[in-house]
Symmetry: C2
Subunit: 115 residues, 2 copies
Amino acid sequence: MKFAGTHLLVDLWDARNLDDPEQIDRTLCEAAVTAGATILHSHFHHFTPNGGVSGVVVLAESHISIHTWPERNFAAVDIFMCGACDPHLAIPVMQRLFQAGRIEVDEQRRGRVQL
Amino acid sequence: MKFAGTHLLVDLWDARNLDDPEQIDRTLCEAAVTAGATILHSHFHHFTPNGGVSGVVVLAESHISIHTWPERNFAAVDIFMCGACDPHLAIPVMQRLFQAGRIEVDEQRRGRVQL
């Protein structure tokens, strides 16, 4: 089985520090580099009045995105990476900031072809 | 069951028009609006030498991302929308451009809580 990339859907529950777009931007960029990825662009948006953050880091190897709901202590992250990166390495870097009580990870292989 | 949003992972096979970032940007923005979403930001990157495109549209209701491999006629799209949007409505808009021979859609409910 050959595939184009690994896509992790990561749900963070009972999480903290979900309302600071600059801190989240820095953390996701550090997570991307830790996973072996190259950053091309990042953009983060801060919602009012709930303080939620939506943002994305576009990578040479695909992307990381995040959407946070501070009022529910919940964040939905996805980490899509192709090539030699290991997207699983991004999760502990994020966990240092978000300190989630529970993390659910769903792993999808994108672009699978039978060889 | 209550959930924060619907996340569609859409793999497009035998697809066309995968190497023009401006055309893909316009199409994904039109797809977002058709699904009922509000666009906050979009960014597209054009890779050389293969012509692949990576990009994202950040929405008030989450995001749409795309990564294309023109040399394989393959694109990996994800459409994550919360609120009253219907992310399924975005797919026919994309299909007008990409004319994929085969489309695989995986639907994930993000942030599920038992009520």
